[in-house]
Amino acid sequence: MMHMTIYWGKKVILFVDWWRTKTWTSYLLTLLACFLFSAFYQYMEGHRLRFKSSTSKTSSTMPSITAPLLSKIGRTRPVISPARLAASLLFGANTVIGYLLMLAIMSCNGGVFLAIVLGLSFGHYLFRSGDE
């Protein structure tokens, strides 16, 4: 019924019963969707990490000669602050995307696997390799 080993071919069922590809057109469109979705995941990750570092107060609490003990490792913001809520929402959204990509690869289709890996790499190049 379902594949437990990697297989090649244009017949894939993805996530839901009605997402079935039989023709080359639908299969290639599905591969394109996987590729774009993976690149989008990297875009969201880059966005999330940049948002997190921009709302953090690291730059103002770096230790200096006059106040070396001011770098706090502990929690520095109350839980219900908008920045923390936004950071967690972005995190939640990316968790959904990440798990969906995992479930897509579980279809065991070789083309889907390649499309997702290539999309992740391409997205990483575009959106994340610029971070230090």
């Binding site: 839901v16 997190k52 967690s88 990316n94 990440g98």
Partner: protein
Amino acid sequence: MMHMTFYWGTDLTLLFDSWKTSSWASYSLTLLACLIVSAFYQYLEDRRVRLKIVSSGKPPAQIEAPLLQGKILGGGGKWSAARIGGALLFGVNSAIGYMLMLAVMSFNGGVFVAVVLGLAIGYLFFRSGDDDAATLLVDNPCACA
């Protein structure tokens, strides 16, 4: 036999043959368990990252006592307590992370929502308060990586 597409419903077999739910009561308890384990995973991740930061002797000690760098908790040696503890925590969290992934693989919609919500809520409470840039690098949303 096994679901390969998403489905909604209270009939679920989770991770073990003996963990079957059919009634709303057992299903809700299972969803609650998924939520709590996901949030707990974030708590452990936070512990692990903090242990790593503290044992690497970062900024607080630098100006005052430069020779103390790396000596906190003996984080310098190859078999120091901090490194072994860190690796143990990492192992435990890898196990929990993969179990969460396997749970999501049940393709049950409720489990998916419960795990994601648990991870997000745990992140909110245990991890999003960090202002240390070093913690950003280990921020991985998918618990199975």
